[in-house]
């Protein structure tokens, strides 16, 4: 399927940009006229992925986060990439409650992404950084008349 719109942004990995990233992606998604709960899901998932880049990939020392999003008639894809340290054991990192972030991190970042989005793929390796690719299918597409879009 051919995408109907595309957005790219590159932002420094600082915590002040967490809000910016989720706001931009949700504003972009709003072109598909999603439901409010779908927008909330996308915002939350983007926030988790970007926070991971800042805390884990770059360990608070900064770097760049590359966000790319595509709109299709019935879905949005969001790719969030860093050039940080990479994940040694992806399965372990995705386990609920597992964290290397210390006492005050819940270890639920990937769990939130997985339950709020329809698919989450993680590609990572030491020294190559991490790419999280997420897709959200917008349910209104099933309900509405496609000719009206």
């Amino acid at each position: 399927m051919k995408s109907i719109n595309k957005m790219k942004m590159t932002i420094p990995a600082v915590s002040a940009n967490e809000g910016l990233a989720r706001l931009c992606v949700s504003a972009f998604a709003s072109q598909l006229d999603p439901r409010i709960d779908e927008i909330a899901d996308i915002r939350t998932a983007v926030s988790e992925a970007v926070t991971n880049c800042i805390i884990h990939a770059y360990k608070g020392r900064g770097g760049l986060i590359y966000i790319e999003s595509l709109l299709y008639p019935d879905r949005i894809t969001v790719k969030i990439k860093d050039k940080g340290c990479g994940i040694d054991d992806i399965d372990k990192a995705m386990e609920p409650l597992f964290t290397t972030g210390g006492d005050d991190r819940s270890g639920l970042g990937f769990s939130v992404m997985q339950s709020f989005m329809d698919s989450v793929k993680v590609k990572s390796g030491p020294s190559e950084g991490t790419t999280v690719s997420m897709t959200k299918i917008l349910r209104r597409a099933d309900e509405g008349n496609p000719d009206e879009r």
Binding site: S15, E18, G19, T44, S47, E48, T51, D104, S106, F116
Partner: protein, 115 residues
């Protein structure tokens, strides 16, 4: 964010977006109050919170650990539905009181005090 302490209870009224960025300030301020007062209960009021990701869960779990060392408890009140979704996923409802929304709203009104 506003906090008030009375009769063993610390009430923390959170507002705005709770993410990793915001949590640092909130945690610092709440921990100062907890260390000062050693409250037997901390109430987090979510009425004016517009967004929360798993950083907020970490905040609550961290405070729960601190309080449970001396027998204190945590209660969450007036949780908007879009935040409840993150809360439910975390299973944090097993360690805090007040995630029943109707009951929580009453309780929140009762406990709410101006700073």
């Amino acid at each position: 964010m506003t906090q008030c302490y009375a009769l063993g209870t610390l009430t923390v009224c959170l507002d705005g977006e709770i993410d990793h960025h915001a949590v640092r300030d909130i945690r610092e301020q709440v921990d100062i109050s907890i260390n000062r007062h050693k409250p037997s209960k901390v109430i987090f009021d979510f009425e004016n919170v517009t967004f929360m990701d798993s950083s907020g869960i970490g905040l609550i779990m961290g405070r729960y650990k601190t309080l449970s060392r001396y027998g204190g408890i945590i209660e969450i009140v007036r949780m908007p539905p879009y935040i409840e979704k993150v809360m439910k996923l975390s299973g944090v409802s097993k360690i805090v009181k007040g995630l029943d929304r109707a009951k929580a709203a009453d309780k929140g009104e009762q406990d709410r005090k101006e700073q």
